[in-house]
């Protein structure tokens, strides 16, 4: 969480990468921004995931707003898995189909072109 101690709730020692997911909704709000998406499991079933990340106030300052992700967008989601809850992660990065990516670090994050990734 942006204010909260991320390591208390998420395993910051490992980063998982979920691809390719389909976005359902992206809500930049306080105290935690929420990303809902679905991912196909190994048997082809759609599994709903959600991600928490920095607050609206922090993301606004690095140029991230609700417009970043739309329903239906194909995205790769990276982040720290929850210690307690299935299919939940703390989102650190979202990569788009064209290779551009959003870094949710609220001190140095932002939206970047793929060439720098």
């Amino acid at each position: 969480m942006s204010h909260h101690n991320t390591g208390t709730y998420f395993d910051t020692s490992q980063t998982i990468e979920l691809k390719v997911a389909t976005a359902i909704s992206f809500q930049v709000v306080n105290p935690h921004t929420k990303l809902l998406f679905v991912l196909n499991d190994s048997e082809g079933n759609e599994v709903e995931w959600w991600g928490a990340t920095a607050s609206a106030n922090h993301l606004r300052r690095v140029g991230i707003t609700n417009d970043l992700i739309s329903s239906g967008d194909k995205i790769t989601v990276k982040g720290y898995p929850s210690k307690t809850t299935d299919n939940l992660l703390f989102v650190t990065t979202v990569i788009f189909e064209n290779g551009d990516y959003a870094d949710f670090n609220y001190t140095a994050g932002g939206i970047f072109k793929s060439v720098t990734y």
């Binding site: 204010h3 208390t8 709730y9 306080n30 105290p31 929420k34 959600w50």
Partner: protein
Amino acid sequence: MVFSNDDIEGIWDFSWPGHGIGHPPSSSVDFTTEGKLSFDSFLPELDPTLKCLMPGIPLGIIDPYPIEIVMQDHQILFLYEHFHMVRRIFMDGRIAPDDWPVSLIGYSVGHWEEKTLVIKTTHMSPDNYVWTNGMPFSGDKNSYVIERYSREGDILLFEAEIHDSVNYKTPYKVSGQRLFSPDMNIYEYECLPDFAGAGVI
């Protein structure tokens, strides 16, 4: 513009010093037996900010959001972007009334020691925390927090001692710095309860 070192009015962004956010590692904290038990049994739903309540003091001292400080003759106002938290630091020599209710924000009085603003806060709630990793705060009637703020140019250095003998054998100490940011905006911070727990509670 040149500022006096005892002029701390204005907007101050949180600044990340090289040593991180300014809390000691939990392994170095000098817990009492009760404090260690409380820390080890921490549940996220006890964190007030996960219920859209303000962090209060001491939790809010290190808060990675901008603040605005307003200096008046009788008080200094600390206006926090985070959760719209407002602190009144009384500078006119008053003391807390006996019947002052405990709260997340407590009751703060301050004075200057040369160029350093010293704040003492009492009357804090047992619902408060020192840090969101579960570092406890008892709210015992003898507990108090001392903060010191000193300006060095565009940097506001701060340190705080949390005196809570129920949980800590020696005062728990935090420190950090803020950067003078007169052109920064203080945004509205509306907290939506449906998003506060964020899957951890």
